[in-house]
């Protein structure tokens, strides 16, 4: 009987892919392709990148039509103005965290809504958006968004009107995409800082639209319990 009460292991068994990653990494270090220090420096660098520069890019484009034109025609050049150099800034001094450096900024209009996916696996504009959310990499999102975009978007809480065209961007070659959403009403006279705050990561992937008052730094909503404990 005593065995039945043994504590469950704190960490689950390691997955096949984790074993594979460790094996390839250790082989690469042994072969001298990179050092353990390089690997650590790279991993730490990757933890520091996030979606703030992309939010800033959108805010600037809302305020400056000339900059918007640049963003839509040359995303890599436009990224320089928000502090992201796709080509030179990597700690390894070559390549980018997503291998390729062709950023396309796709602009929504009141009659056109973009949403980004990589049906192959997980192409994502990492230098300007950081690591992709877990759901972006799931087969569930990848296989359904291309075929049933309206249904999937409604699961994110975004209901797109019938007369608005949805354009799914399947990013599976060398371009990486961010969405430049329509500037929402109620933001007249806002500063760049205020505008950047409402451009969340999900708005940049295209599964949400910016709303005044909805930011990344909002307090979590607290709701009263539906069936409160009676004491």
């Amino acid at each position: 009987m005593a065995e039945k009460h043994k504590a469950a292991p704190m960490v689950d068994e390691i997955s096949d892919f984790e074993v594979l990653e460790i094996a390839v990494r250790e082989l690469a270090i042994e072969k001298g392709l990179f050092t353990a220090e390089d690997h650590q420096q790279w991993s730490e660098y990757m933890e520091t990148v996030g979606p703030l520069p992309a939010a800033r890019l959108v805010a600037k484009a809302w305020l400056d039509p000339e900059y918007k034109k640049l963003a839509v025609t040359d995303g890599v050049k436009a990224s320089l103005e928000v502090g992201i150099d796709w080509i030179h800034d990597m700690p390894s001094h070559f390549g980018t965290p997503s291998d390729y450096c062709n950023l396309r900024v796709v602009a929504d209009t009141p009659k056109l809504k973009h949403v980004v996916v990589c049906t192959l696996c997980s192409c994502y504009p990492r230098p300007i958006l950081g690591q992709s959310p877990e759901w972006y990499r799931t087969p569930n999102y990848r296989r359904r968004i291309v075929r049933w975009p309206r249904q999937v978007l409604s699961e994110f809480g975004l209901v797109v009107p019938e007369d608005v065209e949805i354009r799914v961007e399947d990013s599976n070659q060398k371009s990486r995409f961010i969405v430049l959403p329509v500037r929402p009403e109620g933001t007249e006279g806002w500063t760049e800082d205020q505008l950047a705050e409402i451009v969340t990561r999900d708005c940049l992937i295209g599964v949400a639209v910016p709303k005044p008052g909805k930011t990344n730094v909002d307090k979590r909503p607290v709701h009263p319990a539906i069936n409160p404990v009676g004491h």
């Binding site: 030179h88 390549g95 049906t119 075929r147 065209e165 949805i166 599976n172 371009s175």
Partner: protein, 122 residues
């Protein structure tokens, strides 16, 4: 054909401080298609590696933009950078990809990129 010394770093040397696909600019020659062309995705065999989605094969689409030049994924997977091609951004009507797509949303589209070898004029 066999190389006595294989330069494992040829891509890094070429792309450093230039970027990929930027480092292949000007290497693909004249483009076969232009913006606005109606094209069809060929259903070529892809035995080892491809990035051409099966859902696009055989479907018709419109060239929206000539995006960059690059070796196609089928070559690059084997480290062959010798024959860069034009890449096209193409737009499909969702109706042309998924027969059951609702008529109410006939305007919905899907955009993706394909290399020249995968496209033919309709």
């Amino acid at each position: 054909m066999s190389k006595t010394h294989y330069d494992r770093e040829h891509h890094i040397k070429k792309a450093t401080n230039v970027g990929d696909p930027q480092c292949f600019r000007g290497e693909a020659g004249p483009a076969k298609f232009k913006v606005g062309d109606r094209v069809r995705v060929k259903d070529l065999p892809s035995l080892f590696y491809s990035r051409t989605m099966f859902y696009t094969r055989g479907a018709e689409c419109t060239v929206a933009e000539l995006v960059y030049e690059s070796p196609p994924a089928e070559d690059e997977a084997w480290d062959n950078c010798e024959n860069p091609e034009w890449f096209y951004s193409v737009i499909f009507k969702q109706k042309d990809l998924w027969p059951e797509y609702p008529d109410a949303y006939a305007n919905d589209t899907l955009e993706t990129e394909l290399s020249e070898r995968w496209l033919e004029l309709v």
